[in-house]
């Protein structure tokens, strides 16, 4: 009974994604037929496949791939290995990807999937066989011009290399190299993109630069705080530092650190690498109560860890001028209303952390063209795409007299609506 009571009050990503979609669809008076199309997924693939374990026994696994929409191009989205992977989670995340790729102006649709598995329980050799057999089971439901998976929770570049190799190995010899880009997020030696590791953090900073331009402020000397010092948090801090901004606090699962004179971004990262990726124990800042984090005196907050962190309980304490959502869904609806009322700008997640999927697009494009691009080229291209998307969101928000989150959804939905209106619905 207790579990049921808890389930009732829980809010999930799907609920948020659909609420935001419906709200934006109402605002723009989205065509009813197109609304129906976008409210359901195109395909939902469930595969059960056997794999031989190291001890000779056989286990069966369940894998999923939900393909939400491909009006703008091939489906795109991650594959995660986790016990909570199921069709519902995959749906929510797939829909989210459709909006994200549409907003970023990419020729991609949205998908998500994975295997219901706790990878900690399996050896590296078993994980390789599981990944390869899953790829085989998905068959031609994925492909470089159909559906392009990427790393997600518990999957990495190595797993992408196995998937790419397995998929390409099933093609005729002359077609193998045309199929290696069935996935993105590959290792550098297998067609990976230079700078893919920093693409999301770089994109976050590109949106912050656009914000500074719109508001007519200088980022030099501005104080910022970062929640989450993983890949997104660290690279955001790294690039903000290059612009002369000062990180005064950082928070992760292990600790909340504060130094009003500034925390050494690189030293903190080096410390975390040697400490199970945690910031706890760093001696260049004092440990403070985690509850005080969002109320700290600063100009910019970058929540880059997880969802539902800024709520009605702490939104009133925020002193910053800007929230740049590096994570997905860090600000809930109630909190956003409070922040907007108080004049705090929020760069919505769908725009703010889009540098990652834009990086994936360039990896795919690089492979398609059989080219190898340099880091500076890649970062310049990501910067352009993010800046264009930001300007479009600001322009659309003005046109509809609404906030930037709605503006972002409106840009995405307008792109999809235009495509459907031009092409019509077959037959």
């Amino acid at each position: 009974m207790e579990v049921k009571a808890q389930e009732k009050k829980k809010t999930g990503m799907y609920e948020n994604v659909m609420n935001q979609f419906n709200h934006a669809a109402d605002l723009m008076n989205l065509d009813k037929g197109i609304r129906k199309i976008l409210s359901s997924t195109n395909s939902e693939i469930v595969v059960h496949f056997p794999v031989k374990m190291d001890d000779g026994s056989i286990e069966t696994f369940t894998g999923y791939r939900v393909q939400h929409n491909n009006a703008l191009g091939p489906y795109k989205g991650g594959l995660r290995y986790h016990p909570t992977v199921d069709i519902d989670a995959a749906r929510a995340l797939a829909i989210w990807m459709t909006w994200k790729t549409a907003l970023a102006g990419l020729p991609f649709g949205g998908a998500k999937g994975g295997i219901e598995i706790d990878p900690k329980k399996y050896s590296m050799n078993e994980l390789e066989r599981i990944s390869r057999r899953f790829t085989f089971a998905l068959g031609d439901n994925i492909g470089p011009d159909l559906d392009i998976p990427a790393p997600d929770v518990n999957t990495n570049a190595q797993i992408m290399a196995w998937i790419s190799d397995t998929f390409a190995s099933q093609k005729s010899p002359s077609n193998r190299f045309n199929n290696l880009h069935v996935v993105t997020g590959k290792p550098m030696g297998s067609g990976g993109l230079e700078g893919r590791d920093r693409a999301t953090g770089f994109g976050v900073v590109a949106t912050i630069k656009s914000w500074a331009k719109v508001r007519g402020v200088d980022l030099k000397g501005m104080k910022y705080i970062v929640q989450g010092y993983g890949n997104v948090g660290y690279w955001t801090a790294h690039f903000l530092n290059q612009l002369g901004a000062i990180m005064v606090a950082a928070q992760d699962a292990s600790a909340t650190l504060y130094n009003e004179k500034g925390i050494d971004v690189e030293a903190l990262y080096q410390h975390s690498l040697g400490y199970k990726n945690q910031i706890e124990g760093f001696d260049g800042a004092e440990v403070i109560d985690s509850e005080k984090f969002f109320g700290l005196d600063c100009d910019i907050i970058v929540p880059a860890a997880l969802g539902n962190q800024i709520t009605k309980d702490n939104a009133h304490d925020i002193k910053a001028k800007l929230i740049a959502e590096g994570a997905n869904g860090p600000t809930d609806t109630d909190a956003e209303a409070i922040l907007l009322e108080r004049g705090v700008d929020v760069i919505p997640d769908i725009l703010c952390n889009s540098g990652g999927v834009i990086g994936s697009y360039y990896e795919w494009l690089q492979n398609k063209r059989s080219e190898i691009w340099k880091l500076d080229q890649v970062l310049d291209m990501i910067h352009d795409k993010v800046s264009i998307a930001f300007d479009k969101v600001v322009e659309t928000s003005k046109e509809y007299d609404t906030h930037w989150r709605n503006g972002a959804y409106l840009v995405a939905l307008k792109r999809l609506e235009q495509t459907y209106k031009e092409r019509g619905v077959f037959p």
């Binding site: 999930g12 890949n231 928070q251």
Partner: protein, 66 residues
């Protein structure tokens, strides 16, 4: 029209509402008395002493999941 004695597997009146629903079927893990975590938190190494976790939401994305 419903019959009490057999499982109905064909029905001309059958209707499925054309909308997606989120069922909170995400697996849970019992952590401590009265506490259940959903989504990624349910298998995260940091769940017992995490600074960031939220009791009121299902976490599907987290940069600190380990």
């Amino acid at each position: 029209m419903q019959t009490d004695f057999s499982t109905v597997i064909f029905c001309e009146e059958h209707v499925v509402k054309n909308e997606l629903k989120e069922f909170h079927s995400l697996q849970t893990k019992y952590i401590a008395e009265g506490k259940f975590y959903f989504g990624l938190c349910s298998t995260c190494d940091f769940v017992n002493d995490c600074n960031l976790k939220s009791q009121d939401s299902i976490i599907l994305n987290c940069e600190h999941y380990q």
